[in-house]
């Protein structure tokens, strides 16, 4: 129990830490109190202080969304003095950007109406009519008693044809906001009043549903919950450009937690861009990486990956024709006549080459380090699903064995949920850490990560104990659960705060990213660097906020700087073309599309 005691003492010190955090939160919280009111509907979210990694959001159900639309239509109606059904079309055309739309209407009313698919004639009400001598242009039926309809554009068709047309658009093509008049060449949009007049209740419902869907798709602050069969949408004010600083995890009424930025499952603390890059990298690398690491070396001149599949040690790179010794990686010309017996270990070119080799090897090892941990937590998270089911069984059997009540065994459920959530976070800390440069903040981050990991592993261990021991462990498990949650909050809060300050988290230099991504992804690395730091200057390819730009060189920043410089040079000189060579083969693996791309092999 010694170790537990240690943890307990940790907890109390963390309490202090949280205490100071909390007071800061309070002052922040006051500003947001009004906005927070939206939360009160959600029973799960008992009024609590907003943590630095949490974002404001609201869950909307379809009627809410419809009310929102109606509200905005009415608002604009009041300003423009147009009928609501026309304003709805205008707003949909302008993607619900009210101010811009009103402005454009005020400046060029006729053009705006025309572009939106509205005429400038707003006379008359929607009603069907019988017109003597009428013949429908669609079905060619005529007759004085034929019920007909025309919108304000005057293109008149029989009600049956109109109905059929609308039904097909709505049911088969899933169209709603942009259904045009059936008239040849007429771009007037069918308004809801016409629609309600003509089609069945069922179709009207479907029409509204489709409109709501386009409404949510059109609005930047709304997103559907991606969970299967979930009908809710989330309203969150986080903008696309904020995504490099904020990881906006939201929680739907259906309990699904996802990132508002990219709709993937919650990936705090890693920002969306990094997550995307990481997932792409894993997809490209994971299977081939191990094999490459074990079986290949890189050409010291052009970095092509080479597999030696027989023959002597005299290698000629197929790509850049560099001749070298496979054993020592040194220049072949320095070998003289000692062809098969490499005794050149002390020579300089060999030593340089090997260090370059080691560097590139270590970058792969570095990736594998993070990947293995990431994958481990992902795997554990999958096992957690089973664990959750086991938990339920455990709770029932614990109940019957120990005489505890259902309420009293809930601590296992809480523990199980904490485990799952913490593992999810841990998983992404490894993807995040992979892209971080070494500095103080990274070390603090890694300390936080370590603390959380240790806490999770020890809780996990307790949790797997035989049912008979669980009742005894109840207090410990409760404590450990609380501790895990606390560590998670600390990690996420720290990271979120540092992310908000652009330059404090030094994402590994753009060129390092380029190296990780390989050179073919230059644009991606480049745009990533731009997105991750507002201070990135595309001309100098440096981040202005990096230490050496502001505070000059120091022992601490020197290695990062040198690393970046060597990468710039490497990038500049890295331009080789494939050519056949003796006894060496530029490796390409069919299973890695990226490798093929990088090696210019198609």
């Amino acid at each position: 129990m010694d170790s537990d005691d240690d943890f307990m003492s940790d907890v109390s010190s963390q309490d202090d830490f949280l205490g100071t955090q909390g007071s800061e939160d309070e002052s922040l919280g006051e500003d947001f109190d009004d906005l927070d009111a939206g939360f009160s509907d959600d029973k799960d979210l008992i009024k609590h202080k907003k943590k630095p990694y949490e974002v404001e959001f609201k869950v909307l159900d379809p009627p809410d969304i419809e009310r929102e639309q109606v509200g905005q239509v009415n608002e604009v109606c009041a300003v423009l003095g147009l009928p609501p059904e026309s304003v709805a079309i205008l707003l949909r055309f302008g993607r619900w950007k009210k101010e811009k739309l009103i402005e454009s209407y005020m400046e060029h009313p006729e053009e705006t109406l025309e572009e939106a698919g509205l005429g400038s004639n707003f006379e008359g009400t929607a009603k069907t009519e019988r017109v003597p001598g009428f013949m429908c242009d669609i079905c060619c039926e005529d007759g004085d008693d034929l019920e007909t309809y025309a919108m304000r554009c005057g293109h008149r068709f029989c009600v049956d044809c109109y109905r059929h047309y609308l039904g097909q658009k709505i049911k088969e093509e899933g169209e709603a906001a942009r259904i045009q008049c059936p008239g040849d060449g007429c771009n007037r949009i069918v308004d809801y009043k016409s629609l309600d007049l003509l089609v069945t209740k069922e179709l009207q419902g479907r029409y509204r549903e489709l409109l709501t869907r386009t409404y949510v798709d059109d609005k930047e602050n709304l997103k559907w919950c991606p969970a299967p069969n979930c009908q809710y949408a989330i309203d969150c004010g986080v903008k696309n450009r904020d995504l490099r600083r904020i990881v906006p995890t939201v929680r739907c009424f259906c309990k699904h937690e996802f990132c508002f930025g990219c709709s993937l499952n919650d990936h705090q603390p890693a920002p969306c861009k990094l997550v995307k890059m990481w997932l792409q990298k894993c997809e490209d690398d994971s299977e081939t990486a191990n094999w490459i690491s074990a079986n290949t070396k890189e050409c010291t001149k052009c970095n092509s990956t080479i597999e030696k599949n027989g023959g002597c040690n005299h290698m000629t790179c197929r790509k850049c024709k560099y001749e070298f010794c496979w054993m020592c990686m040194g220049l072949w010309s320095e070998h003289g006549t000692s062809w098969y017996n490499c005794n050149r270990y002390e020579e300089k070119s060999g030593a340089d080459a090997r260090s370059a080799q080691a560097k590139s090897r270590s970058s792969l090892e570095r990736y594998l380090h993070y990947y293995n941990r990431y994958a481990n937590h992902e795997q554990s998270a999958k096992l957690d699903k089973d664990l959750y089911l086991k938990t339920e069984k455990k709770m029932t059997s614990l109940q019957s064995q120990s005489g505890l009540s259902w309420i009293e065994v809930q601590f296992l459920d809480t523990a199980s949920q904490a485990l799952q959530q913490c593992r999810q976070t841990l998983k992404w800390t490894y993807a995040f850490a992979f892209y971080l440069a070494r500095n103080n903040l990274t070390e603090i981050f890694e300390d936080n990560q370590k603390d959380l990991e240790m806490a999770v592993e020890s809780l996990s261990e307790m949790f797997e104990k035989p049912v008979a021991e669980l009742a005894e462990l109840k207090v410990d498990i409760l404590d450990k659960t609380a501790y895990c949650n606390k560590r998670r909050v600390i990690l996420l809060s720290d990271t979120a705060e540092n992310l908000k300050n652009a330059t404090t988290f030094c994402v590994r230099g753009v060129l390092e990213i380029l190296r990780i991504l390989h050179v073919s992804s230059f644009d991606e690395g480049f745009s990533f660097a731009q997105s991750i730091s507002t201070t990135f200057d595309p001309l100098t390819m440096k981040c202005k906020g990096f230490p050496w730009e502001t505070g000059g060189h120091s022992a601490e920043t020197e290695p990062i700087y040198a690393d970046q410089m060597s990468l710039v040079r490497g990038l500049q000189s890295h331009r080789g073309s494939a050519c056949p060579g003796q006894k060496s083969r530029v490796l390409f693996s069919a299973s890695s599309p990226r490798l093929k791309r990088d090696l210019n092999l198609s």
Binding site: C161, Q168, G183
Partner: protein
């Protein structure tokens, strides 16, 4: 069927007063959904003097769904596929552009218009479109050659 009345009306109009260079008839008298169209190459085009057999099929949902147009006679043209189908891609025949009040006459006239003025930017045969843009002389030569071989 409402559509039969519409189709017969259009067929009558087209046979009684056919647009320039276009003659239509039913491929099979008992089926109003399959039309046989003879399209004459416009004078200003390398297809001049050629008679092209064009098949026009109407879906049962016509006129709510658009007809399809295909060349049964081989033709060297950027907007007609160079295979046994001879499919033609017309903007107005896309499901979301088609209007139930659009007429077959307009479709056919548009198709014939395309013979004198191909639209290389919406091509289905990229190679021919390229040639049309960069080496007009050669394109016209080949188109004329094909017309002689297949359409006369």
């Amino acid at each position: 069927m409402g559509s039969i009345k519409r189709i017969s009306k259009e067929l009558t109009e087209l046979t009684e007063s056919p647009p320039e260079g276009i003659t239509v008839e039913l491929a099979d008298e008992s089926n109003v959904y399959e039309w046989k169209v003879i399209m004459e190459g416009p004078e200003s085009s390398p297809y001049y003097n050629g008679k092209f057999l064009v098949k026009l099929s109407l879906p049962t949902e016509y006129p709510f769904k658009p007809p399809t147009v295909s060349f049964a006679t081989k033709i060297y043209h950027p907007n007609v596929t160079n295979d046994e189908k001879g499919s033609m891609c017309l903007g107005m025949l896309r499901a979301d552009e088609w209007k139930p009040s659009s007429k077959i006459a307009a479709v056919l006239q548009f198709a014939r218009q395309l013979l004198s003025e191909p639209m290389p930017d919406d091509a289905v045969e990229g190679r021919i479109a390229e040639q049309y843009k960069n080496d007009r002389g050669r394109y016209e030569e080949v188109a004329r050659e094909w017309t002689r071989k297949h359409a006369c």
